[in-house]
Point group: none
Chain length 500, copies 2
């Protein structure tokens, strides 16, 4: 085999595997959007077969031989090929460590877990979901130990979602936030509250859908390759490659701002996912770097842009046109304050920008304890409610509004949540850099997302998964990441709103 032949085989291999991913992603998407309710078992069958097939392809002797051959000829590979080989070998090492029957059994479990969670959430039935959740935590611990016996299982998963992240770093990061945000929240709590009654009312779904469409077009999301559906929990998924990306939202009849900011958030993910360079399609470099960098983009659009004075001023006429009753007597500044109201609450996805990280911190601390064996899954609801009381001062009335609110665990994902907080903090560093090159407020005043998107594309998006999160941060910032910029951003913005 020549290196040239091996390179061709490498591309062919990734192309094959991406088709399996396409199928599996589409099945999950179908389940969350339009599939009949009782089709989980049937889907689980197909998922288990296809995940076994793709497991065999991606870890089989021919593949291992190919990748090791290419790894031994690193110097003849270009940067992209080197990264592909590195990522695929890393994945193989992980896969080799996990016994195949356990891997397949876990995929089968996940095939039904989401549907089960959805039903249990509706029925406020934590006990119904508990056995499955226990298996998910147990399996995550077991798999982590297979893959990296020397690591704490939670460190293993934190690093999987955000290369380089550890509990130590999280403790430090959340420690800084806690020290400054809890006092800020307290101070805000003592100030006169802003009036957000303009967001409440009775907002027909078709009007909200019109707003969704308006926002996606405004943000220049390519609607030929991306669309919007409704699901219980909003999300973004790429189907097979960056050429087909789906986002979802959830309409709340009584509050239009809930879906409005979901759509902006998921559109941020979608813009990123869709902007990989074309030659990355059907390779492991297609899409985003990490969950943290991905959330830095979605929360950048949702909050730093979407909840900025300039953006709100621009969309205000459209909002008023769609919801004239609610906006009666409210000007753009009133809407700006309303969407930035700070108020400790129960639901993470509806939390304001300041309290948001505390929601994440609750999940981080609980995951850490269960993954460390210091807490059982059965104890989660009580512990959840206690931390919400401690950090946010709120009483959780039931598990539906508590421990059952998020879908992540039902997807088998433990260790993902910290990325949301980290991503938010990255975003505050990014906007400072962006403003060195781009007149962000000037562009938003004209409703022109092109320079913002272009900057993100050139600095972050187009590279897909070519760099590590740390490399992306280094390349963009030119200095080590520091949460200080984020804390300052929050302090400045919300002092202006509440005490300006």
């Amino acid at each position: 085999m020549t290196v040239l032949e091996a390179k061709e085989k490498l591309m062919k291999l990734q192309s094959r595997l991406s088709a399996y991913n396409h199928a599996q992603e589409l099945m999950f998407y179908d389940e969350a959007t339009i599939a009949p309710e009782k089709t989980d078992e049937n889907r689980a069958h197909a998922l288990s077969v296809l995940s076994e097939e793709s497991y065999i392809i991606s870890t089989g002797p021919e593949t291992v031989e190919l990748l090791e051959f290419l790894d031994a000829h690193k110097e003849e590979l270009d940067q992209k090929e080197r990264r592909m080989v590195f990522l695929m070998l890393k994945e193989i090492r992980r896969m080799q460590a996990i016994p195949m029957d356990e891997y397949v059994a876990f995929q089968e479990l996940l095939g039904t877990a989401y549907g089960l969670w959805r039903g249990c959430k509706v029925n406020n039935d934590f006990e119904g979901f508990r056995p499955t959740l226990e298996k998910i935590f147990e399996t995550n611990i077991k798999f982590a130990k297979y893959c990296a016996p020397e690591m704490h299982p939670y460190d293993y998963w934190l690093n999987e979602f955000e290369e380089g992240l550890t509990m130590e770093k999280c403790d430090e990061f959340f420690g800084s936030l806690k020290a400054r945000l809890i006092p800020l929240i307290k101070k805000i709590g003592e100030a006169p509250q802003v009036d957000d009654s303009c967001l409440k009312g009775n907002f027909p779904e078709e009007k909200q859908a019109e707003l969704s469409d308006y926002l996606m077009r405004l943000m220049q999301v390519d609607l030929g390759h991306c669309n919007l559906m409704t699901t219980e929990h909003p999300f973004t998924t790429a189907i097979g490659s960056h050429k087909d990306v789906r986002i979802t939202t959830h309409y709340m009849q009584e509050d239009f701002s809930s879906s409005m900011f979901s759509v902006v958030h998921e559109s941020g993910h979608a813009l990123y996912d869709m902007a990989s360079e074309d030659d990355l399609a059907y390779t492991v470099l297609d899409g985003g770097v990490s969950m943290g960098i991905h959330e830095s983009q979605s929360r950048f659009y949702e909050n730093i842009i979407g909840r900025s004075r300039s953006f709100i001023k621009f969309i205000y006429p459209k909002v008023k046109e769609l919801f004239p009753e609610a906006m009666e007597g409210v000007d753009a500044e009133g809407l700006y304050k309303a969407v930035n109201k700070v108020e400790p609450s129960l639901i993470r996805t509806e939390a304001d920008e300041v309290t948001y990280c505390l929601h994440v911190m609750v999940r981080y601390e609980l995951e850490k304890k269960v993954m460390s064996g210091e807490m059982t899954v059965a104890e989660l609801p009580t512990a959840w409610n206690a931390l919400y009381k401690e950090y946010l001062g709120v009483d959780v009335p039931d598990d539906r509004h508590g421990v059952l609110q998020d879908s992540h665990w039902s997807g088998g994902t433990i260790g993902y949540f910290p990325s949301y907080a980290l991503g938010s903090a990255y975003g505050a560093e990014f906007i400072k850099k962006m403003k060195e090159d781009v007149d962000v407020d000037g562009a938003l005043a004209e409703g022109n997302f092109a320079p913002l998107n272009e900057w993100n594309k050139e600095h972050i998006w187009k590279f897909g998964h070519l760099y590590t999160p740390q490399e992306v941060l280094d390349r963009v910032l030119g200095k080590p990441f520091n949460p200080e910029a984020y804390i300052e951003y929050l302090e400045k913005k919300y002092t202006d709103i509440y005490f300006g």
Copy 2:
């Protein structure tokens, strides 16, 4: 390898292949329902990879060896296993007979043919489609000769879609229909026309959707395993197995009966598809026998049941509740007559029950001539228009409303159309047998589909693809199939409506 081991491998093999089918069916369904518009290229990539993978699995040397081993030990197989081996080997023999490069070239041709046809139909441009259609007919003749050199090519394809069907049988069947239906249509044309203005108006989609939901529930379609979406053309597809079936409809704002009967038709397909015995799931026996038997069920529910006096009488109050303006002054008998209006027309999919078979006959006679070399593709438009004039008495204004109306040929499918007519005729025999056991009109008077569905399930549905179409007919009828029952049914029903 012991026979027992081989049997286990046979089940495993089918289970694997069904997962690939699941993925591919879901991709087609997604494309037709909710996928963003410009995602074809991305989907084509995944489809081509997965179809190649499943082709390799289903025709690879290990599979051939397994099936030949089992075929050599037929006497140790049960009935289901024997049929599985027979069907899978038959498919392999066909694949082996066609040179791979010619097969691939044909698939490539078909990759563009549908889009070309759609464009040519819109532009009324038969000449633009002609070269492609010529290749499609030529290739069908060539492939038939590879697979069964001893057979007439058209007989080969008729038998592919309806095992046991031949031109001789078709000639006899269509000959009987022609002799009796053309005079009937002529006679009806001279009688006072029924008034169907109650079906026309402005019917909001949400009201029509409510009717769809009502009809599916009334027909006892299991909504946990089946749902309804909207598409350009209505269809039914099983996703992976009988445990997940999707139907679609198309709402016409100006005529609620169009979607109403689509929903009943597709629900007929779905009831059949969903009723295979559980142990047939993930095998080649899951689902239906043939296109003819499948259409016998869908058209049974659509016409023999759905357009019956008892059924219309039962649903009349619901229709009146949903569309009070249109139903003003129209009683159940008026609605019954309206949905049974006979009127020769240009388009097969909109044809009434009596003229429908003549539309099919035109296609059968033309396909037969071209496949026999007695007519060129270039002569099709003129011949089409002449037969429409002769059989239906209508003048075809252009090819868009004539020879270019159906998509089947552009999909490479020659010999499929007769199944539609045969299926309709089977249904008339089935209802006679059913009435020996079930008080059909009594059940419909109470809106109770259970005894009808149960009878179909016991006699036809639960066996999936275990029997040939001929065996199904023999088992149900206990005598050779005869189109007389169908002709009598039409004569009696429509004489009553027009001259009663």
